[in-house]
């Protein structure tokens, strides 16, 4: 007898069908992964087992412990949520209520579903926090969500979900928002607790590494349709469906050429500090300094890629902005021998042309109210104002062709469209075209693929490698993803807490890491 039995489930939002005839089942204590890219319907499918989605029309059947969820009255559902089925969401900061302490929120869940009240509930909450490995849990229980680190918040979320010993735990991308180094810990914790309590786990993820390591069975979804399901080893070793094969082979291949000689960017002793205001009256008279980057040295040759790797808050993005001359930095950053601070207006203008940038989030990196022609053509207006309308348009079309952005082989129909008409991967191509149209020598890539789906990631990285060889570009690649570095970089710098902990060629750093920190990062990536 299975614990959860989903039969022919279809989900509509208005007239749009987002999930089409999905069936799967889950036995008590079993671990099932629901895999797919964004918009594949995996989250909607999982959350509909609790009927947590408003405005959705559900058809088919969802049976939990032999009871039909779709026919349950609202009160019975409320009882079931949290007690029988619990959910851990992707982003713990928004899943926890910011105005209550963590302990209060766990205790609330206990009071709702168990006979425990008041002080008993509170001490049980503290015990639950201890079980998920939060040190000093009595003090931490009195902390507000913002006072905890990302990892601790996610642990608190897990404590809350598991406090009532549910029979099924739905984990929706539980580690995607966390730093690589703690992802493994959190998943290991989840697995340990699951095994102890004999819970069933429904893991929603896009990361096949996690699936391989933590689940027994896997179901693959594409655009609302379940294309394949089976035992994890079978599916990953011998994928039957084309889409699954594409997912399994989405690890990017290395296709970079050898770097050239000489130096195009030279950085010595780079240091970036921010002033931060001290709280209270002190802040009126003095301000503290926060050092985001210090003691950074590197050289970059033409055609070379320097991978800068580190977790969030390590200062890698600030370093990128300093190289771009967008934040003030001390020390010496020379691009073709010219320093940002020494450059006059004309020289700065020339420097701007030499070094360009592609940002992480293709949603926010394109102004939503400009057409593609305006966005891509902006650099030409600034740096080559002598071009007339027709010449400019020709260059824009060439740039779009370069990044492979065409419709039926032509780029013309795209010129007067707006960014919202494009998918994430296409927008990233537009951002690359905007950077390349002024013919820069150096491009800073700030997490260029981390907002994209895995299969798109691969395409974008291949495009970047191709463009590098075509135009002898140098890349400064800022990322937290060791796979991306493996595929693209010639040399690697590992950053932690504003400093470089390790630097060297890709071979040296990845195969023979010297510091423990680098080892953790590499292990987490290979999981």
């Amino acid at each position: 007898m299975s614990l959860l039995e989903v039969r022919d489930l279809s989900i509509h939002f208005g007239s749009r069908k987002v999930v089409d005839n999905v069936s799967f089942s889950l036995d008590a204590g079993e671990k099932l992964a629901l895999v797919g890219e964004s918009a594949s319907g995996k989250t909607v499918t999982a959350l509909s087992t609790l009927r947590l989605i408003e405005n959705a029309r559900l058809t088919g059947s969802i049976r939990f412990q032999e009871r039909e969820v779709l026919a349950l009255p609202e009160e019975a559902l409320c009882e079931m949520r949290g007690r029988d089925i619990a959910v851990v969401f992707q982003e713990p900061m928004t899943a926890l209520n910011p105005i209550y302490t963590v302990g209060q929120q766990i205790a609330e869940s206990l009071e709702l579903h168990t006979p425990l009240r008041g002080g008993h509930a509170w001490s049980e909450a503290i015990a639950a926090m201890r079980r998920v490995g939060i040190d000093d849990s009595e003090r931490r229980a009195r902390s507000f969500p913002h006072q905890l680190s990302g990892g601790q918040r996610q642990r608190a979320m897990i404590a809350m979900a598991l406090a009532c010993n549910p029979k099924l735990l739905i984990a929706d991308e539980p580690t995607t928002a966390l730093d690589v180094a703690i992802r493994l810990q959190i998943l290991q914790l989840l697995e340990d607790l699951r095994a102890q309590a004999g819970m069933a786990l429904l893991l929603i993820t896009h990361d096949l590494n996690l699936v391989r390591r933590f689940t027994e069975r896997v179901a693959v979804m594409e655009k609302g349709v379940m294309v394949e399901q089976g035992r994890t080893v079978d599916v990953i070793e011998r994928p039957q469906h084309a889409y699954t094969r594409k997912l399994v082979n989405s690890r990017p291949d290395r296709r970079v050429g050898p770097p050239g000689d000489g130096t195009i960017v030279e950085a010595r002793g780079v240091k970036v500090t921010y002033e931060i205001h001290k709280p209270g009256v002190n802040g009126w008279f003095q301000s503290a300094k926060f050092t985001a980057v210090q003691d950074v040295d590197f050289d970059l040759a033409p055609g070379e890629t320097l991978g800068v790797i580190g977790e969030s808050g390590s200062g890698k993005t600030t370093l990128a902005l300093a190289v771009l001359g967008l934040v003030k930095a001390q020390g010496d950053i020379r691009i073709e021998g010219i320093r940002w601070t020494e450059a006059d207006r004309a020289a700065r203008r020339r420097l701007r042309r030499e070094i360009q940038v592609v940002f992480q989030d293709p949603l926010s990196s394109l102004s939503p109210r400009l057409t593609i022609e305006q966005i891509v053509g902006e650099g030409l207006e600034i740096h080559e104002p002598q071009l007339d309308e027709a010449q400019r348009r020709e260059r824009i079309l060439a740039a779009l062709l370069d990044v492979g952005l065409t419709e039926a082989g032509r780029a013309e129909p795209l010129l007067d469209r707006y960014p919202h008409e494009f998918s994430g991967g296409q927008r990233q191509r537009i951002a690359i075209a905007r950077a390349l149209i002024v013919k820069p020598k150096v491009v800073v890539l700030d997490e260029p693929t981390s907002a994209l789906d895995v299969t798109i990631q691969k395409q974008v990285l291949e495009l970047l490698a191709e463009l590098q060889q075509k135009y002898r570009l140098s890349y400064i690649l800022v990322t937290h993803d060791i796979d991306v570095v493996r595929a693209m970089a010639h040399r690697v710098m590992v950053m932690k807490d504003s400093r470089i902990v390790e630097a060297g060629t890709l071979e040296e750093v990845v195969s023979r890491p010297k510091s423990d920190y680098t080892r953790t990062l590499i292990e987490a990536g290979a999981a």
């Binding site: 909607v44 902005l321 360009q356 926010s364 990196s365 650099g379 600034i382």
Partner: protein, 378 residues
């Protein structure tokens, strides 16, 4: 990568349009708001021609073989066979008789009174109830109420329009500078705004209206000078948010000038709350002018004003037609503005935008959790 553009899902709003145009389409889809805009626009356009529609001078006169255009000419009474070289009173029964003679004629406006017209030949004492002569009756000085309401409406809307344009323009400029340059510029300008906002507007108005003789333009200036604070706060917040977005960084990395970044990149993306606020600002300005006039601090005496009419209504409670009709005009004006504002807000609300474009516009339905809709529409 040839078939890179997936076919877009069928929606009633074509994707291939600028965000501004799509907002306009959503606005039009709101029938109540769109109808309000049309009615308001019509009323305002009509009121701009008040001199032709409600005037005590005929539009065209043919008198003893000559053509006259009293609307634009001032003619002495002697022109039409009167005794005195004073400007003609066209309501005078003698003049009317002259025009009624064979060969002569006069084309009068729809309503034969100007807002200043005092009908010396009225049959009933003022304030006179509505009758055939004065459709809505007269005020306590015998002036036609319909004429005063029409001109008063026009004045109120023009006033509101000027105040809104001036305070919005200044608020955008101030908020933009604050938000774009941030840090010390922002801190300094924010303190100034706080000091400015702490000034008691009503007392300032009382003081100013006793220092200078109150006039329309003085009021426009005074209300604009205090009206920009709210707009500036919204624009500042939008700029603070947008200046850190990657498309602004990308423009800076391209070497784009500050001025161009402000007006080309950030400004168009920061105007949503401003556009939403405009109708409400106008409604507020109409209300402000009315209350100042009601208190006697507003436009100079004799000017057609809704507030002054309300004041009369209060003084002449038995003349119900004064307060009732003025109240009606005010309610309709404010209601139309607020309905327009409401529709505009819905058209620009990002949550409703997603809902409308995922093809499930359900008026009154609870919007689903935004993150789930986002997933569904991607």
């Amino acid at each position: 990568m040839s078939a890179i553009l997936a076919t877009s899902p069928p929606t009633h709003i074509p994707l291939h349009a600028s965000p501004g145009r799509r907002a306009w389409r959503r606005f039009r889809a709101n029938r109540l708001g769109y109808a309000s805009l049309i009615v308001f626009g019509f009323l305002f356009a009509v009121s701009l021609f008040a001199e032709v529609l409600s005037n005590d001078r005929p539009l065209v006169v043919r008198y003893e073989g000559h053509w006259y255009f009293p609307v634009v000419q001032t003619l002495p009474e002697t022109t039409f066979g009167g005794d005195f070289p004073t400007p003609t009173d066209y309501l005078d029964p003698f003049i009317r008789e002259q025009f009624a003679k064979p060969g002569n004629f006069a084309l009068y406006p729809l309503n034969r009174y100007h807002y200043t017209t005092i009908n010396y030949f009225a049959k009933s004492p003022s304030p006179a109830r509505p009758d055939r002569e004065n459709v809505l009756g007269t005020d306590d000085r015998g002036r036609d109420l319909l004429a005063r309401l029409a001109y008063g409406f026009r004045l109120s809307v023009l006033f509101a329009f000027l105040v809104t344009v001036a305070s919005t323009a200044f608020g955008i400029l101030y908020g933009a500078l604050q938000g774009y340059f941030a840090s010390w510029t922002d801190i300094g300008m924010e303190r100034f705004k706080e000091i400015w906002g702490a000034m008691p507007v009503l007392y300032m108005l009382i003081i100013f209206s006793s220092l200078f003789s109150p006039s329309f333009w003085l009021l426009v200036i005074l209300l604009s000078v205090f009206g920009w604070l709210g707009i500036a706060a919204y624009v500042r917040a939008e700029f603070l948010k947008n200046r850190t977005l990657d498309y602004v960084r990308a423009a800076r990395a391209l070497g784009q000038s500050n001025w161009k970044i402000i007006h080309r990149h950030i400004l168009p993306n920061s105007l949503t709350p401003v556009v939403t606020l405009v109708p409400f600002e106008m409604a507020g300005a109409v209300g402000a002018l009315t209350s100042l006039d009601f208190l006697g601090l507003g436009v100079p005496p004799g000017t057609p004003s809704l507030g002054e009419l309300l004041q009369q209504g209060k003084d002449n409670l038995d003349a119900w037609w004064i307060s009732l009709s003025t109240f009606g005009v005010l309610v309709v004006t404010l209601l139309l503005l607020i309905l327009i504002g409401d529709a505009l807000r819905d058209a620009l609300d990002p949550r409703k935008v997603l809902e409308a474009e995922s093809g499930e516009a359900k008026p009154g339905g609870t919007p689903a959790a935004p993150e789930l809709i986002v997933k569904a529409t991607q």
